[in-house]
Amino acid sequence: MLEAEGLDVFYGKAQVLSGLSLHVARGEVVALLGRNGAGKTTTLKALMQMLPVARGTVRLSGTEITGAPPYRVARAGLGYVPEERRIFTQLTVRENLEVGRQKPREGVPAWTEEGLFALFPNLAERADAPGRALSGGEQQMLSIARTLMGNPACLLLDEPSEGIAPVIVAEMVRAIRRLKGEGLTILLSEQTLPFARAVADRVAVIDHGRVVFEGTFDALDAAPGIRADHLAV
C-alpha cells in the first residue's frame, strides 16, 4: 500500500532522515516507534511530501508520489493527521470537517459527517462549537475525523495518544481498531509501547533517521537490545 525506499531528508544542512525505508501492507496497522527527535514526525511529513525529499521514492498503491504537491498526495488517498492536530480554531467542528471533504474513492470507505459523529460521539455534541473551544482529546478526534472526510486509503497518524487524558486514549484505541476494521491502512508514530501494542499489527523502530527494526511485537520482545538501545530513555 505505502512503500518508502531510501529516503534522505535535510533541514538546511542537517540530515534528519538517512536512507529510511518502510513498508505498510494493505489493511495493516504499523506503529513507528522512536525517541524524541528520532525522526518520526519528519518521516510522516516526508511521506506526505510536505518536506522536500532529497533522495529516495515514496509509492502509494504502486504509484510514485515523490515530489508531488501535498494536495495531490492527499487526493491520491494518503491522509495526514499532524501531531499538533492543527485544527482550524476559528472554524466550527462542522466547518473543520467541510475543509477535509473530498469525493468518495473507489474501494475505500466513504465517510460522512454522520458516520464520523458516530465514530466520535464527543464531536457530535460539539458540532457547532468553534475549534478553539475543544479539549485536547476532542481536538485530536476532530483532526482525525477531518482527515477521514477526504476518504483516505492510508492514514498517517502522528502521535495520536500524546497529551490526552487516559479515558480519551482508551477511546482512541477503540476508534483506531474500528478504522482498521473498515479496511483502512494506518501508519502511526508513537513514543509509548503500550499504546502501539494495543492498536498495531507490526512495529518499525526508528533512530537517527533510519529504521533499525521492523517486525512483530513478539520479535521486538525477543530482541531486548533494540528496546534498550533505541527506545529506552
Partner: protein, 612 residues
C-alpha cells in the same frame, strides 16, 4: 442637528468605496499573505473601465450594469495577474512580493495613460439620482443615499460568502493554516486565484461606485492606497467588520474635519490611527501577526564576512577612477554621476534598514525628502549657508526618524510597513498643504551650493566624498557590534532579547541612523538640483528605493548601492521614453520571477558556479 446628520451621512457614503477596497486588500492578505500594493491600481482600473462601459451601455440598466461589469472585469484581470505573476513569488520573502506588486502598479499606470489619456475624467451622474434630498433641511445628494444603502449590502453578501459557502470556509481555513489545508487535499492555486480575483473585483467595484462622486484620474491609485492602509491598520488586517468600522470612522472624521478644521483633516486621521495603535497594536478587530507563520522567512542567511583584500583593492581602484571623473568626464557625465552617487547613498541607507535590521519600511522617502526640505527651508527661511544646511539635514532627518520610528516600531511586519508609508504620505501632504512655508506644489527653487562648490566638478567631489563616506559608515556599522546585534534581533527577536539585547531600542537606533543617512542624501540632492519639490517625499520615491534594494539584492551587503547605480543610470535612460513606467514595471517583474537574488546575488551565484 440637521447639519450634524448630513455630515454623518456624507461620511457613511464616502466610506463605501473605501470599505470595498480595504476589504479586498484584507481578504487577499488573509489567504495569500501578500500585501497587494497594486490594490489601488485595481481600484483605478475599476473606475476607468466603469467609465468606458457607462459611455457604451445606455440608460439606468446600463449604468448599474456597467458598475457590476467593471467589478467583474477587474476581478478577471486580478486573477490573471495572480496566475501569471504572484504564483511565482508566494514562497519568496515578503519584499519580493511587494516589489512584484509595485511592478504591477507601474504597468497599470502607463496602460491607463495609454488607453484613457492624461485628462481627468468626470464621472457620469447616476440616471434618476441627480438631485438632492432635504433631510432636516440639509441637502443630501440622492446618490449618497444609494451608496449608504449599497455598501452594507455588499458587506452582507461578502459576509454570507465567507461564512456560508465552501469557498468561504476554505478561505478562512487557509487564512489560519495554509499548509494544513493543502494536506487535506485542497488545491490552493485555485483558492488563491479565486481570492485574489474576488479582492480585485471588490476594488474595481469600489472604483466604479465612486465614479459619480469623484470620476477617474491617474493619481487615484496612490490616493486610495494611503487611506486604505490607514483603514486596514485601524480596523485590523484580515477583519471585514474591522474594515467597515474603520472605513466609516475615517470617512466621518474626514467629513467633520473638512467642515470644522479644514487644515486638520490629515493630522486628525493620523492622530486617530496612532491612538488606536497605542491601544490595540493590531487594529480594532485584528489579530497578532506572527512573523514567518506563513513560511515567508525564507532560508537562513549565510553570515556576512568582511570583503577580502582583492575585492577591497578592486573597490579602491574603482573609487579612484570615479573620483578622477572630472579630469576626463563631460559635464553631463558629472551631473549624472552626482545624481547616481546621491541615489546610491539613499538606497544604501534603506538597504541597511532592510538587510541588517530586517525592517521593511515603505516610507523611506520621508527622510530623504525630509532632509531635502530641511536643507532647503534652512537656506530659504534662516539664510543658512550650504555647509550648515548639509550638516543639519541628516540631523533633522534623524530626529524625524526617531519620532516616526517611535510610533511605527510599535507595530511589526506589514503593519510597520503600512505605518511608515502612511507617515511619509502625511509629510508629503503637510508640505503640499502648507504652501506659504514650503512652497507647496511649486516647491522651492534657487537653493544653490556655496561658491566653492558651485561648479559641476567641485560639487561632484563634494557629493563623492560625502556619499562614499556615508556608504562606508553604513557598511562599517554592519560589521560593528551594532550590525551583529541588529542581525540577531532580525533573525530571532526573542532569543536576542533573552541574550540581553534591547531589541526595541536597537531597531529604533537603526531606524534613526538609516533616516539620517537618507537625510544627508536628500540634503545633497537639493544643492545638486538647486530646487526641491514635494515629489521627493512621494510614495513613488519610497518605492524607487525599495525596488533598487531589491534589484541589488537584499541579502548582499553591496546590494544597495549597486542597485542604486544601475537604477539611476537606467531611469535616466528610460525616462526619455514616454512609457518608461511600463518598461520599468516589466523589468521589475522580469527580475522578480527570474533573478530573485538581485544583481549582486545573481553575480555571486554565477561566480560560485564558475569556480565549482
Amino acid at each position: 442637528m440637521g447639519f450634524f446628520l448630513a455630515q454623518i451621512l456624507t461620511g457613511l457614503a464616502n466610506a463605501g468605496a473605501l470599505f470595498m477596497v480595504a476589504s479586498g486588500l484584507s481578504l487577499i492578505f488573509g489567504v495569500t499573505r501578500i500585501v497587494n500594493f497594486a490594490h489601488g491600481s485595481f481600484y483605478m482600473l475599476g473606475a476607468y473601465i466603469g467609465y468606458t462601459l457607462m459611455q457604451v451601455l445606455p440608460g439606468a440598466v446600463g449604468f448599474w450594469g456597467a458598475m457590476l461589469l467593471a467589478g467583474v472585469a477587474v476581478g478577471v484581470i486580478g486573477a490573471f495577474v495572480e496566475m501569471v505573476i504572484l504564483r511565482r513569488v508566494y514562497a519568496a520573502p515578503e519584499l519580493f512580493q511587494l516589489v512584484a506588486t509595485f511592478g504591477v502598479i507601474l504597468i497599470v499606470q502607463d496602460l491607463a495613460l495609454m488607453i484613457w489619456g492624461p485628462e481627468d475624467l468626470l464621472g457620469p451622474r447616476a440616471p434618476g439620482l441627480r438631485g438632492v434630498v432635504r433631510i432636516m433641511g440639509e441637502p443630501v445628494p440622492k446618490y449618497d443615499l444609494v451608496l449608504i444603502g449599497v455598501t452594507p449590502l455588499v458587506a452582507l453578501g461578502l459576509w454570507a460568502l465567507i461564512t456560508k459557502t465552501r469557498f468561504g470556509i476554505l478561505v478562512r481555513a487557509a487564512t489560519q493554516d495554509r499548509e494544513m489545508v493543502a494536506a487535506l487535499g485542497v488545491n490552493q492555486r485555485w483558492l488563491f486565484t479565486g481570492t485574489f480575483g474576488l479582492g480585485c473585483a471588490l476594488a474595481g467595484l469600489g472604483g466604479a461606485l465612486q465614479l459619480p462622486q469623484g470620476g477617474a484620474d491617474l493619481l487615484m491609485d496612490f490616493t486610495i492606497l494611503t487611506s486604505v492602509f490607514v483603514v486596514v491598520v485601524i480596523g485590523g488586517m484580515g477583519s471585514l467588520p474591522g474594515a467597515y468600522l474603520a472605513a466609516v470612522l475615517i470617512s466621518v472624521l474626514g467629513v467633520f474635519g473638512v467642515a470644522y478644521l479644514p487644515q486638520s483633516t490629515l493630522a486628525l486621521t493620523f492622530v486617530v490611527m496612532v491612538a488606536v495603535l497605542m491601544w490595540r497594536p493590531f487594529g480594532l478587530l485584528g489579530r497578532e501577526e506572527v512573523a514567518g507563520e506563513a513560511g515567508q522567512v525564507g532560508p537562513p542567511e549565510d553570515p556576512i564576512r568582511p570583503a577580502g583584500w582583492s575585492v577591497r583593492a578592486g573597490v579602491a581602484l574603482a573609487l579612484l577612477a570615479l573620483g578622477a571623473l572630472p579630469l576626463y568626464g563631460s559635464d553631463f557625465a558629472l551631473v549624472l554621476a552626482t545624481d547616481i552617487l546621491i541615489f546610491c547613498l539613499f538606497a544604501a541607507s534603506l538597504h541597511f534598514l532592510l538587510g541588517q535590521a530586517g525592517l521593511v519600511s515603505f516610507g523611506h522617502a520621508a527622510f530623504y525628502g525630509g532632509g531635502a526640505y530641511a536643507a532647503a527651508l534652512l537656506v530659504r527661511h534662516a539664510g543658512a549657508p550650504m555647509e550648515l544646511a548639509l550638516l543639519l539635514a541628516p540631523l533633522i532627518a534623524g530626529l524625524l526618524a526617531l519620532a516616526i520610528g517611535w510610533v511605527s516600531l510599535r507595530a511589526t511586519g506589514v503593519y510597520f510597513a503600512m505605518l511608515t508609508l502612511a507617515f511619509a504620505q502625511l509629510l508629503w501632504s503637510l508640505v503640499w498643504q502648507w504652501a506659504e512655508f514650503t512652497g507647496g506644489s511649486d516647491g522651492m527653487v534657487g537653493i544653490w551650493p556655496a561658491d566653492w562648490a558651485g561648479g559641476n566638478a567641485a560639487f561632484f567631489w563634494l557629493a563623492f566624498v560625502l556619499c562614499v563616506a556615508g556608504i562606508l559608515v553604513l557598511r562599517h556599522a554592519a560589521h560593528a557590534p551594532l550590525g551583529y546585534a541588529l542581525r540577531a534581533a532580525r533573525d530571532n527577536p526573542a532569543r536576542a532579547a533573552a541574550s540581553g539585547l534591547a531589541v526595541a531600542r536597537l531597531q529604533w537606533v537603526a531606524f534613526a541612523f538609516a533616516g539620517a543617512m537618507a537625510g544627508l542624501a536628500g540634503g545633497l540632492f537639493v544643492f545638486a538640483k538647486g530646487s526641491v519639490f514635494p515629489n521627493e517625499l512621494e510614495i513613488a520615491r519610497s518605492f524607487d528605493a525599495l525596488i533598487v534594494v531589491f534589484l541589488g539584492g537584499v541579502k548582499t551587503l553591496s546590494g544597495g548601492w549597486v542597485g542604486g547605480a544601475v537604477f539611476e543610470a537606467g531611469t535616466d535612460w528610460l525616462t526619455r521614453f514616454e512609457y518608461w513606467r511600463l518598461a520599468l514595471g516589466l523589468t521589475v517583474l522580469f527580475i522578480v520571477t527570474l533573478a530573485p537574488q538581485g544583481i549582486v546575488g545573481a553575480a555571486r551565484r554565477l561566480w560560485q558556479r564558475g569556480r565549482s
